[in-house]
Symmetry: D2
Subunit: 131 residues, 4 copies
């Protein structure tokens, strides 16, 4: 399920235990999100250029198994719910055997250039919900 991207774990992302440092998963989520949006005909750079931002309101992550240096990970991204002015993404980080190493959620609001929360323009709303 969900859109897939692959990520090769960088040395810089590994901590002393030899595992991917826990905050790095949030960068992986962002990469999954970026490609998810891009694939639906609108990259995030364009959304920003139109004067919108999609800041993060909330994050949740559960870590099941560690990821290691040089692992090739798959990030699966999907929209789990979508309101008028907010959207929730869900992510799964899997290893080469298809085992889930971590999963997470990010919740975002759409804000305009004045920093006000605004409803999604119909075009963006529709595109994001395209399977």
């Amino acid at each position: 399920m969900g859109d897939k991207i692959e990520i090769r774990v960088r040395y810089a992302e590994i901590d002393k235990m030899g595992y991917v440092y826990y905050s790095k998963y949030l960068e992986y989520f962002e990469m999954g999100r970026t490609e998810f949006i891009r694939k639906r005909g609108k990259n995030y750079k364009e959304i920003e250029a139109e004067g919108f931002l999609l800041p993060v309101l909330e994050v949740w992550t559960k870590y099941m198994q560690p990821a290691r240096y040089d692992d090739l990970l798959t990030i699966e991204t999907e929209i789990s719910s979508m309101g008028k002015a907010s959207v929730k993404f869900h992510y799964f980080v899997k290893n080469g055997n298809g085992e889930t190493l971590a999963e997470g959620m990010t919740k975002h609001a759409l804000i305009n250039k004045d920093g006000k929360i605004v409803p999604f323009p119909e075009e963006i709303h529709k595109k994001l919900l395209t399977p």
Copy 2:
């Protein structure tokens, strides 16, 4: 409430919107946690040297207001609950006016060198619960 440390926001931590990037709060939490443990007479380096690790099982963060470059932030850290082999920390990130910009939770297990979850040695358990 909770132990306090101060953090000066680095340029490297700022994203294109001019705000602290969302994963950086997890580094701030870790710094709060480190000082919390150190203050109770046991630094994390020693815990590792004794053959224990305290990996993160779960993270939750809520972002209320953005933090900006060069802001002087206060991180408040406390233990919100403690089991036999796991512990939850809670964090508040505040600005100079005492406003809460973000709050979060991390849940950890204690594991030994073989990667097995083990109960906290009484000494560590007691020290962590010292106010």
Copy 3:
């Protein structure tokens, strides 16, 4: 010599070898530079607000000894040379015994909002050269 700041090494900055990852020193240099400029009556945020940027043109770093998790480091920062539109900073990273773990150089140009290299306004030039 040079302005001094102290930095506590974060867990997030440590790599698998147990040492501070090599790119992190560039963040330390930036922190030293920021405080160096702030101390001279102009913080970098104000310089940006006036429409100037000080992008990095060149970096050089030499690594002598590793820094480790939880080390308390001293960063010494000084201006090694200053031209009409460019400036070179030099940095020393030292441990608690005063031993130099690394040293480095960054070269910067002053650019205006249009991205053009411009000479330093006299006020900034003077302030930066204040010992």
Copy 4:
């Protein structure tokens, strides 16, 4: 010239100016280096497993043009010189038009588990010099 890898710039890597933060190029170099070594039949993880480390002794980087969010960059990596116990890599970071945005050098020593500098085993030496 040199081995090529592609990197998509992450949001997390962008600073307030909208450009890739200067320390991130060192992570890109490491990724280029990793793939360079892997392609020659020995990945860095195996080199570590055999008890060797290849720490960085020196870094130099020149920044010509900024890289931006979501850019697809090419990192070209080659060995510029190789001694008995040390090796120098050279890197070029190029954009989609083949323009060089940055170039850099890293110098490494080979050390064994006791932290002593040792000559390259003939097998590794030979493999690294394979075009």
